[in-house]
Amino acid sequence: MERYYQPEIECASREQILSWQNERLVKQVRNVWDHVPYYRKKMEEKGVSPDDIKGVEDLHKLPFLTKDDLREAYPYGLLAKPLGDCVRIQSTSGTTGKRVVAFYTQHDLDLWEDCCARAIMAAGGTNEDVCHVCYGYGLFTGGPGLNGGSHRVGCLTLPMSSGNTERQLQFMVDLGSTILCCTPSYAAYLAESAIEHGVRDKLKLKAGIFGAEAWSEEMRQDIQNKLGIKAYDIYGLTEISGPGVSFECSEQTGMHINEDHFIAEIIDPNTGDVLPDGTKGELVFTSITKEAFPLLRYRTRDICVLTREKCSCGRTHVKMSKPMGRSDDMLIIKGVNVFPSQIETVLMEQGYPANYQIIVDRVNHSDTLEVQVEMTPERFSDNLGKITEMEKELVAALKAMLGIYAKVTLVAPKSITRSEGKAVRVIDKRKI
């Protein structure tokens, strides 16, 4: 039997949803115009005023926001409420110095937790469940979001955070965890560890809510078989709130977007034109209920498809496919956002040639990052210690920039293929 956290919203008629969206969008645009000078300026440049936005059909008139805007406006430039009204900050991982921070009022947190509660109940959660959250807690939205949602559903919540696999398994066995929330790669790792430690049969898990990274249908089958659970996908981004922007239902054919809070559009990433439902393009979100950090037409850079076909679960909200790629070159490595340009900057600063290659792989369910860079005559020395020292400095500089460890491999000159046209800078070997 399908369970809903807020059935009157999740299964509302399309007319009702549209009417909420129209009303909330008009109000939100006015609010942003009045309180966010950064966005007001963008609207003025585009010649749009709040009076031009009478409903969802006028949404396309508004200017886009991108991650660059968030960095430029860092930290308070997109805030629509006085700091005194804000109660929480969350942040995206990676990119030191250029972090993206998002602010929340208590009301924002409440709505975010509602979204997560919808996801947990869609995965079959009730107040009888023991919800085991091993997403990271802290600036990362994974832990706090699912934790809040779990409280709302009334689950007994285990705020495990990430790491320490043996302790995770021990708590799962001793306290009878029934719902597991973590990244899919960690779920796969836990499954293997449980089998290895001989505790697989002692687990009471029935469902898992896995997100924050890309995973395939094959991986889903693998996790489901190994843990004997049903595995649900969940999607979100800190800029918009966190996990729970959309979530999977029992049909497992896409994630329902919480349209009472977020309006989704698919655009052509090159022209910015809105594309019809069913067309692959870049996903754009407009927050219509957020108070502190209301982003309008935020470009996620995730490529996916929206479908409004009737879902057997009874929910009426639009479904998005799993992201099929990115419209920029961002890589998500160990949950951290990495841009090749950041690596290039470090190499230039350290005096290395711009010819480099980034190799991303997944070994034992954990992402690895390797940067191959060519040795140059100027840097070469007969002294192996000096070369090792140089390598260590580069590793440290990359760590400082990216926030994660990158293995550095010095390779022979001209051994990195110089292709004509676009250079192949990134080799992603991860089988997702």
Binding site: F380, S381, D382, N383, L384, V411, A412, S415
Partner: protein
Amino acid sequence: MTVNQISVFLENRTGQLADITAVLSENQIDLRAISMAETASYGVLRLIVDDPQKASAVLLEKGFIITMTPVEAVLVPDRPGGLSELLAAVSKADIGLEYMYSVIDRESSNAFMILKTGDNAKLAETLEKNGFRTV
């Protein structure tokens, strides 16, 4: 005598070493000594050849990264404890030894040590003073 050692950057990829020896033999360069210092992913190959200028030219042409390093070649006295006498003399003179490797001369069957220090002049002087033959 101070000789010019050629150091070559080597990626840990099979075949690179064979490429180098092939290039040298094609150009009739006689390889007198070879030594390798390496980490898990790369290494420095050290070569003593009969014609360092020619060898460096052909290696550069093949795209290898090289550097020339002056090192000292010393005959190891052919008696028990010969090597330790040599090292003791170097240590006593307070000369920092960066690395060394041995080589057997094919014609004379004599054992030589190749020594790399920070101060070649002082090393040569010390060796001479202690009666070691450099070549």
